[in-house]
């Protein structure tokens, strides 16, 4: 599909595509231990119920990327695709203002200049947007991070439109998953995609926060895969978000990060303050 673009690509464009992307290894040391930090071509899925901090984590990672190097950021560009009109610019600005040493309007605007937002109204539009993203990525060699919030927004609409055939219902999402994999591999990006936990949990009589501590594998009971197989196959790492409900912990959130090939599990805790996510 990119063949007509490849033909037109000049030498500089080729170099820009392959070499210009900086590494995201230091994007979040708490979240990714050294050997597992997101490498080019990685696809990470954030999964959780509502109010568990997925979007806040995205703001945290976005801020980390777009802040200048002098303020502790990575100074790279981010493409944020919003599918359910969820993106809160004012919240991101608050997070940035708290992290900048001098939070002037100029500094904030400079950071925001590295962020590109796309709003998608349907799964077909998402597919077409991903197709046209290739031109954009060619002309912006400093984009390293692609964020998709959220991939599951069209799930029910697609199911209703696809009639009785499961294949038809999933076809657009399948194409999107393949395109996303192609994009992150060709342009050496990292993709963070959120999916909402919209299916009822299977009722488990042993559920409870104490169990999650003793047997981390139980947390997977919360995860019920419902998106198409093509998507599940391209995900490298799945991060499950949940909120601690006991009152003495206050507003504490937890996430379990699971590398799908090596089955490596890691648990982290964080709170959300004015300046965004803070790991405990």
């Amino acid at each position: 599909m990119c063949s007509d673009f490849h033909r037109a690509e000049s030498g500089t464009e080729l170099l820009a595509r392959l070499e210009g992307r900086s590494s995201l290894k230091e994007i979040e040391p708490h979240l990714f231990a050294d050997e597992e930090s997101p490498v080019h071509g990685d696809i990470l899925e954030f999964h959780g119920a509502e109010g568990t901090g997925k979007t806040e984590m995205l703001y945290h990672l976005t801020a980390r990327c777009i802040l200048p190097k002098s303020e502790g950021g990575l100074e790279v560009e981010v493409v944020f695709i919003d599918t359910d009109y969820h993106f809160d610019m004012l919240r991101l600005v608050t997070v940035l203002e708290h992290r900048l040493s001098q939070s002037s309007e100029e500094a904030v605007r400079h950071c925001l200049g590295r962020l590109f937002l796309l709003y998608c109204g349907g799964s077909t539009q998402l597919l077409l947007t991903l197709c046209s993203l290739q031109t954009m990525l060619c002309s912006h060699p400093s984009v390293c991070l692609l964020i998709l919030d959220s991939l599951s927004a069209f799930y029910w609409i697609d199911r209703a439109n696809g009639g009785e055939s499961v294949n038809l219902q999933e076809s657009t999402l399948k194409k999107c998953a393949h395109l996303l994999e192609k994009l992150v591999n060709e342009y050496r990006l990292v993709l963070f995609a959120t999916t909402q936990s919209i299916m009822q949990k299977a009722s488990n009589p042993e559920e409870g926060p104490s169990c999650a501590f003793n047997r981390p594998s139980d947390v997977d009971v919360d995860y019920r895969p419902y998106l198409c197989k093509a998507w599940q196959q391209v995900v490298k790492r799945r991060i499950l978000f949940s909120k601690q409900n006991d009152s003495k912990a206050g507003n504490q959130f937890s996430l379990v990060s699971r590398h799908l090939k090596s089955n490596n599990l890691k648990k982290h805790f964080f709170t959300i303050g004015e300046s965004g996510v803070e790991f405990c």
Binding site: I81, Y85, W156, A160
Partner: protein, 333 residues
């Protein structure tokens, strides 16, 4: 958006559509994902023309990349925060209802959701001089009650009836559960799809899209209300306030907001109204608790006194048995 037809985009003629159809390409997605060299050979169209067509289609139908700085500038001028007129609620909402967002009020029957909505409507219409669209699917909106609320603010009759030249700033849907719940349940996934579609329309309307989009998709009487209100095409950014019921969770037995998980992602802010615990008698005080917010920590609580709005004091049973002066009885339409 899907099917290719003449005039869909500049340069797409009926002949081209026919040739593409003969090669098995009927929709925009099929054309964009196809190998254009193959298509050129099969359909007899020139490769260059196909590349140009693909570029035009993508430019027309894919999302436009907004630069963060530009978007921020635009938001600074178009976002407004609308006070609800109730001090304690404003504290929970971080100064008021934000335009561009959906705020949900949840509570058991009789917890005061409709009264809060009416108070917000009265405050925005009178205090802030902006238009309010009130969609009532519950029967809770009565002219007499609105009049009482306005009378508590001003005794000047002319001020009470003056129509505003302001723009539409708040849309209240009371209640969204009454409209959507009959569709859910059972094996019908159409119900969930409709609910999700409704939620998307609410959000795009909140963020400034023309009303024609809504009317095109919906046949529900609630949504037809939009087409009947004149002068609505210049909507601009407005705030949505919806109310929702509570249901019992089947596993834990606890009360939770109705309409399920798929709806729970829709509002950006959620307030839970509860009768004061342990108060036994049904007084006029309610406790509002912030259970979801994009900018404040959840769990904060404030007391809201329903009896302090308008006269008379809230007495007895919940469902709208307001004391009414004889003048207003029979005013119901």
């Amino acid at each position: 958006m899907g099917v290719l037809r003449a005039g869909l985009c500049p340069g797409l003629t009926q002949d081209m559509v026919q040739l593409l159809k003969s090669g098995g390409i009927k929709t925009v997605v099929e054309l964009v994902s196809a190998d254009l060299e193959e298509v050129a050979q099969k359909c007899g169209l020139s490769y260059k023309a196909l590349v140009a067509l693909r570029r035009v289609l993508l430019a027309q139908f894919s999302a436009f990349p907004f630069n963060g700085a530009d978007l921020y500038e635009e938001l600074k001028t178009t976002t407004a925060i609308l006070s609800t007129g109730i001090g304690s609620l404003d504290k929970l909402l971080d100064a008021g209802l934000y335009t561009g967002e959906v705020t949900e009020i949840v509570g058991a029957p009789g917890s005061g959701k409709t009264q809060v909505c009416l108070c917000v409507a009265a405050n925005v219409a009178h205090g802030l001089q902006q238009n309010v669209l009130y969609i009532d699917s519950n029967g809770g909106l009565t002219a007499s009650r609105i009049l009482q609320l306005l009378q508590a603010r001003t005794l000047d009759e002319e001020e009470q009836v003056r129509s505003s030249s302001g723009t539409l700033k708040v849309v209240v849907v009371d209640s969204v559960a009454a409209v959507v719940a009959p569709l859910l349940g059972g094996q019908q996934r159409e119900g969930l799809a409709l609910m999700v579609q409704l939620a998307r329309e609410l959000k795009t309307l909140a963020r400034d899209l023309s009303v024609a989009v809504l009317v095109r998709k919906w046949a529900w009487s609630a949504m037809l209300a939009f087409s009947l209100v004149p002068g609505l095409h210049q909507v601009g950014r407005c705030s949505f306030q919806v109310t929702n019921h509570m249901t019992r969770d089947r596993d834990s037995g606890q009360l939770k907001p109705a309409l399920g998980r798929s709806w729970s992602f829709v509002p950006s802010t959620r307030l839970l109204l509860d009768s004061t615990q342990g108060s036994g008698s049904l007084g006029s005080r309610r406790v509002a608790c912030l259970t979801k917010s994009p900018r404040l920590p959840t769990g904060c609580q404030e007391t809201v006194d329903l009896g302090s709005w308008g006269t008379p004091a809230f007495q007895g049973d919940h469902k709208g048995h307001w004391e009414q002066s004889p003048v207003f009885q029979g005013d119901h339409t």
